[in-house]
Each structure stands twice: as C-alpha cells, then as structure tokens.
Symmetry: C2
Subunit: 144 residues, 2 copies
DNA sequence: TATTGTTATACTCTATAACTATA
DNA sequence: TATAGTTATAGAGTATAACAATA
C-alpha cells in the first residue's frame, strides 16, 4: 500500500467527517448535535442509571462537556437530572419520554442517511459493511 | 433499525473520529496533521500542477485554510510555490522530493494503523472493507 | 470589474484548571 | 482529604470577510 488515500484509516477518517457533517445537518432542526445523540444513546443503552462522570468515561469526553451537553438536553426536556439521595454529590441522568422520542427521530434520520450513502451498494455488501464496522467499534472499545 | 449506534452513518462518524486521532498521533513526529497529508496526497494524485483554489475545492475546505496548510508544508520543505508566468495571480503547488518522502512515511504509518485496527478481522473481510469504503468515498465525491 | 491569494477576525468545539458542595 | 459536578478560561481548528495584486 503506497497510497495513503486508499488505506482504511484514511478513508474512515474522511468518510467519518463527512458523515458527521451530514448527520449534523439532518438533526439540526431538533436543535441537536451528534454528541447529544451519542449521550442520549448511551443513556438508553446503559444498564443502570448513569452519573455524569460515568458517562464522560463511557463517551471518552471531558466531564465538563457532559455538563454542557446535559444542560442543553435538559433545556429541551430530553433528560432529567436526579440527585442521588445516597450520595448527594451525584446526579444521575435519565432519558425522558420526550428524549426517547427525539432519539427515535434521530435514529430514523441516521437510517435515511444510511440508505442514501449506500444506495449504490448491493444489499449484501451493505450488511457486511455494517457488520464489519460494528466489529471494529467493539474492538476499539467504542460504545456499540 | 431502531438503534442509532448501529447505523452505518453513526459508526462511520465515531470510528472516523477515532482513526483521525490515532493517525494524528502517529504523524505528530513529522510535524504534520491529517489535513497536511490530505493536501500532499492531492498534489501527488493530481494530474496537473494545482493552484491553491483548485486544491481548496478538491479538498472541500476554505481557500484560507489551504494557505495555512501550504505555509506549513513550505516551511518543512515539502512543497514549493511557483508563480504561474501566464497568470501571475496564480501559484501552483508542487510536491518536493522531501514532500514525497514524508508522504511515503505517512502512508506507512496509515498502513500500520490499518493492520492494528483490523487485526481481529479475517483477511477477506479486511479487503472487502477497504473496497467498500473506496466505493463510498467515490460515491460521495471524495478524493480517492 | 472579477479573480487569486492572503490576512484579519470571529466563531465553534473541547479540554484544563479552578471552584463549590458534599463525603 | 477526596470526589461529583460546575464554572471559567484558554487553545486548536476552521470559516467568513476584508484586502492586495493581477487580470
């Protein structure tokens, strides 16, 4: 391999940036950005109610960013902060019904985007791609 | 599909961000960032010597960013700016020998990263992934 | 007047560090 | 003293807009 542009790493980087931009454009109407969706998805996927520090570690971002994201989501009525009575320093975030609805809409937007970008691919290749990407995400320790 | 995290769009976004970070860490020693590599690769791939505006359009970034990237690469001796005698407003960028060597090293770094992230994948799946990503990039109008 | 490259400026994103309250 | 969350601050990255040179 002597062409950078043909490596998996480089292509994932450029395609990823493009996908993030396009996804961001699609969810802009909901006043959400990809990171907000990531946080909401982590809340739904999480087995137990998550503290903000837990979430920061899970998403691989700074705790202060979780604060900003949670502030925004709370203003939208998508999440609720509840003080843990056992340890009053702790706040657990939970997804509201409205949050679940928003998340559902975002998932639909992402699925539409999937159809759009993979339109020229045969169905089998499309499924294989999703499968492989999932395995890579799992291997890299990303939420999946 | 009712889970955002399992969509191709979302996975490409998160994996892409991760790959870009890891690639950036590997080429930091050369005093380069992924965008610099993208510019150099565009220069080598381009059939004709490219003006800075051409490059901006090809890479999908603002012209002012090309100036900053080219400034940096020029300081490293990786590219040369040559005034077009036919139209003295124009400056064509060309890759120097040193630039080609740097690009080669970056390609090697990207290939290593490929091996690392796809270590757990069977060879056939790995090849299929590279192929599919190339097709997606082509379909999205990205340099490939 | 239009276009190329450049410079100046501003904005977005995110991390680091300081601070508050609880433990 | 240590920890959860928050706030304040700063830096990177990049775009927009103003500007200079050339056409």
């Amino acid at each position: 391999m002597n062409d950078v542009k043909q490596t998996i790493a480089f292509r994932l980087g450029t395609l990823g940036a493009l996908m993030q931009d396009r996804f961001a454009a699609r969810i802009e109407a909901y006043d959400l950005k990809p990171k907000h969706v990531g946080l909401m998805a982590a809340l739904r996927g999480g087995a137990t109610a998550a503290s903000q520090q837990d979430l920061a570690a899970r998403l691989g971002v700074a705790p202060s960013l979780v604060v900003a994201l949670a502030d925004h989501l709370e203003r939208l009525g998508a999440v609720e902060r509840v003080r843990d009575p056992d340890d009053r320093r702790r706040q657990t975030l939970t997804l509201t019904e409205r949050g679940a609805a928003l998340l559902h809409d975002c998932a639909a937007a992402a699925a539409e985007l999937d159809d759009e970008i993979t339109a020229s691919l045969p169905e089998s290749e499309r499924l294989a791609l999703r499968d492989t990407l999932g395995r890579l995400a799992a291997g890299a320790g990303l939420p999946h």
